[in-house]
Every structure is written in structure tokens, then in C-alpha cells.
């Protein structure tokens, strides 16, 4: 649940935590909210950018609009490719349509498609190929289009 006041408060607390530490970058994920804190060269100039994850310009999201996490539909093994000798479904920076398959979670030889609920740009893939994932574990993040 996205509660703006709680998000702002949490961001403040996170900034307090990060301040004076060696942490360069911190991502906190909750229900529908992602808070990312990334430190620039100057120690005290931490920036809180709610739900924005932008390692490259192509993945810039509209400020305040949360990045969409694509989560595991069940427990199983995460695969980025339809088969070992084939290219991955998606790569970072790629645009995906709503309903497009972006990965597989295999459980007991059943290949369960992972589908993007909304259109967006792949900002990050959180899980390595062949890793076991939990139910609803965020597998990758999609930035909003535009």
C-alpha cells in the first residue's frame, strides 16, 4: 500500500541511517513502493528518489511513479531464456509490452511463463539464471514508458 506520508517518513529514516556510513546505494522495497538512495561523490548529498531506478537514460522514469516489479508467480527456478542455447526473453533497457513473457519459473519440469503486467522498460534484472526464487519475489524492475 502506497502511503505518501509513510514513504516520506521512511525515506527520512533511511537517509539518517545512510548518513555517516559507507553505503553508496540502498534499495528498499515494500508493497508498491521502492525507495532508492544513491550517494553522489559528496558524502552528505544523498538523494532520495522514490521508485526511480535509472542506471541509464533510456530507463528514466517519471518522477514519483513507481517502478513496476515483475514478481515470481510461484516458487521455482528462474530462467531468463526459453532454452539454454537461445537468447534471453529480455535484456536491460529493452521495452516490453503488457502481457509479454519476460522469463520462466520452472517447477517440477513445468515451465511457467513470467509475464509483465504493464508495459515498460527493463531497468534491472534482480535474479541470476538458475536461481531458486520465492513466491512473489521481485525478479526484475520495469520503468514506466515515456
Amino acid at each position: 500500500m502506497t502511503d505518501l506520508r509513510a514513504t516520506v517518513e521512511a525515506t527520512g529514516l533511511i537517509l539518517d541511517l545512510v548518513r555517516g556510513s559507507d553505503v553508496q546505494r540502498l534499495v528498499v522495497q515494500g508493497d508498491g513502493v521502492t525507495i532508492e538512495v544513491e550517494r553522489s561523490a559528496l558524502p552528505a548529498a544523498s538523494a532520495a528518489r522514490p521508485s526511480e531506478a535509472a542506471p541509464d537514460a533510456a530507463a528514466e522514469t517519471t518522477a514519483g511513479e513507481p517502478a513496476e516489479a515483475v514478481t515470481a508467480p510461484l516458487m521455482g527456478v528462474f530462467y531468463q531464456r526459453p532454452a539454454p542455447d537461445q537468447p534471453p526473453f529480455v535484456t536491460v533497457g529493452q521495452h516490453v509490452e503488457a502481457g509479454e513473457q519476460v522469463a520462466i519459473v520452472e517447477a517440477m519440469k513445468m515451465m511457467n511463463p513470467v509475464v509483465a503486467e504493464h508495459a515498460g522498460v527493463v531497468v534491472r534484472i534482480n535474479v541470476a539464471d538458475g536461481e531458486v526464487v520465492e513466491f512473489e519475489q521481485p525478479l526484475m524492475e520495469l520503468g514506466a514508458v515515456g
Binding site: L74, M75, G76, V77, A107, M108, V132, V133, E134, F135, E136, Q137
Partner: protein, 451 residues
């Protein structure tokens, strides 16, 4: 064994995590989305989100539990009670991937899960069973034939049934055809197996069970009996050990029958042999539960033996260090189950947020619960909220301590059956230790007519 995964929820998940902590074993709790904020998840070293609330896709889903073990690097699984605890496929699957299943072998789970095979196995080794059809009956004609031989009242039971479900009492020949169809339909729905057998029905009986511990070296001991006669629709509400006022040598006969049965089938792990005792003091084997029981704490409190710890130690190959008759059986212990049930609304299940909670304490009181203030009781699972166990040197002391504990107990925000237990504790027959399987109906009727 380094790390144990708990494939369960609620109070029993908390109980097993505590046993891991006591033994210095790592603990992992597998949880569904409905139990994200549960006490077990908070207390365990690690928690793995295995699926959505419906048990079919979480607590009953074998692949998810196995993947959770892989992810958390668990090398053992404790199934608790309910869910997959008596599913031989799960025990087999664990063995196949090299996980230690904390429980009996798949063979024993399957044997006792089939009520007819269990009956036959017990009869073969001399454990008394109720007169019955000795096999599933095919069709109403064969059922009527068997019924004439057994006599009325009788009980129709699903071969795959258990835990009080899939049973129906037939009081007269005229009811047989309709009950036959009803029971078959229920069995088909609940167990996907509509085979039915018949047994003599024992009115005004008592339900008494014997706790067994058996290691893989052939040592089998019993830890005394438990009286589980306080039931409503085959769901136990209160249990005590020892069973009060058993006639003659019945206690010894029950305990010997339980050890004989478990020894004969070469059972290993903790287990419970359930018996029905007729009004004239004859014991009959009902079923064996091949798992930890909800009511295990009364035995623990009476004997001082930690059953969950010993299930784990037996599973990792240790031998029992105590012999028969060594456990201290001098104390008396009683348990009541606090359920999220609205007794006034025909015991309908309730949910809600626990607003104010006061758990009892003091000498002789143990509370096994997953409740905390602010906890939201989810609507998806069984209604057990807490077990209060009172122990004393005599039954009388244990009863007084239980009455004190129930006075202290408060749980606001969720409707519970605590008042039923207060009524039970005040009942003259219960206090005298003279009660039968009709006690709950009797108490509820009395209560209604006096208000």
C-alpha cells in the same frame, strides 16, 4: 542436521521453531502470503514465502516446500500436524531429494492412512478393533448385509478419512440408504476416495489415546494415555493425562496394546494410537496418527519429555535414552484449545484483529500460541489460536490452575470459545472426571436452557 524447515503455520510452527532453538539447529519457516506477519516467521532464523493463502498452493504444495528447502539450504523438514504431515508422497519426496523427514516412514504413513489396512494390521497382532465390515463395502446391498451382522447403531467411515471427517452414525436400518449416499458424497469431495466401511457405533464412549515414541533401534515406549473425550463433531476441545477414573486394569491394557501395535508394524518416530473405550470398559483401536498431535503438550508437561525434540533426535538417528516406566507419570496435565469460534453462532469460525491480549501465567501454566496484540487472524486455515496447559501434582490442582488461567485469559477483537471452557471447568461431571463423548452437547444444551 543443520537446518530444519517447518512446513506449517500457527502455534505449531512456533512450537517447532522453539525446538530448533533448544537443539541449536537452524530454523526456516515456509509461509503463505496470509502468514507474512506471523510469529513463527518472526522467530525463525529465516522465512521463505512459498505461495498464496490457499493451502493447495502453499502449505500443501510439495514442490514449493522442496524448493524452499533448496533456497534456504535446509536439510530436514518437520511437517507439524495437518497439511502434508500424513501425506506419504511428501515423506517420499523428501527422501528422494535427500531431506530428513521428521516423522515416520512413507510406508507407515500410508499403512495408517488407510483405515482398513490399519485395522487389519492391528487385528493381526492382537490389538482389539471394533466389529465391522473388514473391508470397503460395495453398494448399498452389501452395506445392508454387513449392517445386519454388526447391528445398530453403527458408523459409516470413509476409508481415506481421519481427523473426525468422513464419518456418519446410522441409528436405524431405515436411515442406512440415505446416510450411505451422504457419506460417500462427502468422502468423494474431501478425500477423492468414496470407499466406505462399517463399524459398530459405541454410544457414550470415551476417546482415549496413547502417545508412543519409537526409535530406529527397536525401542518403543509409551508416554501414558490422554483422555480426549471432550469433543464436538469429532473435533477435540480439551484433553488431559492421565485419563481420570479408568476402571480396573484398563489403563495398562491400553498402554500395552499401543506398544504392541507400534512394535508389530516396526513403527519409528512419535505416534499416537487412538482408542474408543465403551461404557463397559472395553477398548477398541480406532486409528493411529503418524504425526505430532495438537495435544502433545499435556504429555510433555506430565512426563517432562520434549516430544518435538525427540521426534527430531529420532529422525537424525539417535536412540531413546529412557526405558519404559522410567518417565515420571506422577503429575496431571490438562489442555484446553482456544479456538476462533463463536459458540453462540453454532461454533462458526471467526476472524479479526487481536486488539487486547492477556495470556495467563504463573505456576503450572503453559501457553502455546502464535497470538500477539495486533495479529490478524486469517480466514484461510484452522481456528486454533492458543492452547492453555495446566499441570499439577494432582488432577484437582491442575483443574484449579486451569480455572485460574481461564480467568486471566483475555483476547479482544476475535470471538473465541474461552467461555465454553469456563463452563466446562465448572461442570460437575467434568470436575468429577466422569464424562463421555456427549459432554459438549450436554453443556451447550444446558447453557441455552438456563439463559
Amino acid at each position: 542436521m543443520e537446518r530444519l524447515l517447518v512446513g506449517n503455520r500457527g502455534e505449531i510452527a512456533v512450537r517447532i521453531v522453539r525446538a530448533c532453538h533448544d537443539l541449536g539447529i537452524g530454523s526456516v519457516v515456509a509461509y503463505s502470503s496470509a502468514d507474512r506477519d506471523s510469529l513463527a516467521v518472526e522467530l525463525a532464523d529465516r522465512a521463505v514465502h512459498i505461495g498464496p493463502p490457499p493451502a493447495r498452493r502453499s502449505y500443501n504444495d510439495i514442490p514449493s516446500l522442496l524448493y524452499a528447502c533448496a533456497l534456504a539450504e535446509a536439510d530436514a523438514v518437520h511437517p507439524g500436524y495437518g497439511f502434508l504431515s500424513e501425506e506419504p508422497l511428501f515423506a517420499t519426496a523428501c527422501a528422494e531429494v535427500g531431506l530428513t523427514f521428521v516423522g515416520p516412514s512413507p510406508k507407515h504413513i500410508a499403512l495408517m492412512g488407510n483405515k482398513l489396512d490399519a485395522r487389519a494390521a492391528m487385528r493381526a497382532c492382537g490389538v482389539p478393533v471394533l466389529p465391522g465390515s473388514d473391508g470397503a463395502v460395495e453398494g448399498i446391498a452389501q452395506a445392508a448385509e454387513a449392517a445386519d451382522r454388526i447391528g445398530y447403531p453403527l458408523i459409516l467411515k470413509a476409508v481415506a478419512g481421519g481427523g473426525g471427517r468422513g464419518m456418519c452414525v446410522v441409528r436405524a436400518p431405515g436411515e442406512l440408504a440415505r446416510m450411505w449416499e451422504d457419506t460417500r458424497a462427502v468422502a468423494r469431495t474431501l478425500f477423492r476416495d468414496d470407499r466406505i466401511y462399517l463399524e459398530r457405533y459405541v454410544p457414550r464412549g470415551r476417546h482415549i489415546e496413547v502417545q508412543i515414541l519409537a526409535d530406529s533401534f527397536g525401542n518403543v515406549i509409551d508416554l501414558g494415555e490422554r483422555d480426549c473425550t471432550v469433543q464436538r463433531r469429532h473435533q477435540k476441545l480439551a484433553e488431559e493425562t492421565p485419563a481420570p477414573s479408568l476402571p480396573g486394569d484398563l489403563r495398562e491394557r491400553l498402554r500395552e496394546a499401543a506398544v504392541l501395535g507400534a512394535t508389530s508394524v516396526e513403527y519409528v518416530s512419535a505416534g499416537t494410537m487412538e482408542f474408543l473405550v465403551s461404557d463397559d470398559g472395553e477398548p477398541y483401536f480406532l486409528e493411529m496418527n503418524t504425526r505430532l498431535q495438537v495435544e502433545h503438550p499435556v504429555t510433555e508437561e506430565r512426563t517432562g519429555i520434549d516430544l518435538v525434540e525427540w521426534m527430531i533426535r529420532i529422525a537424525r538417528g539417535e536412540a531413546l535414552p529412557f526405558r519404559q516406566r522410567e518417565p515420571d507419570l506422577d503429575r496431571h496435565a490438562i489442555e484446553v484449545r482456544i479456538n476462533a469460534e463463536d459458540v453462540a453462532r453454532d461454533w462458526a469460525g471467526s476472524t479479526g484483529r487481536v486488539e487486547r491480549l492477556r495470556l495467563p501465567g504463573g505456576p503450572g501454566i503453559r501457553v502455546d500460541t502464535h497470538l500477539y496484540e495486533g495479529y490478524v487472524v486469517p480466514p484461510f486455515y484452522d481456528s486454533l489460536l492458543a492452547k492453555i496447559i495446566a499441570t499439577g501434582p494432582t488432577r484437582d490442582v491442575a483443574l484449579r490452575r486451569m480455572a485460574r488461567a481461564l480467568r486471566e485469559f483475555r483476547c479482544e477483537g476475535v470471538v473465541t470459545n474461552a467461555d465454553f471452557h469456563r463452563t466446562l471447568l465448572a461442570d460437575r461431571d467434568f470436575r468429577a472426571g466422569d464424562y463421555r463423548l456427549d459432554i459438549v452437547d450436554k453443556l451447550c444444551t444446558t447453557e441455552r436452557s438456563t439463559t
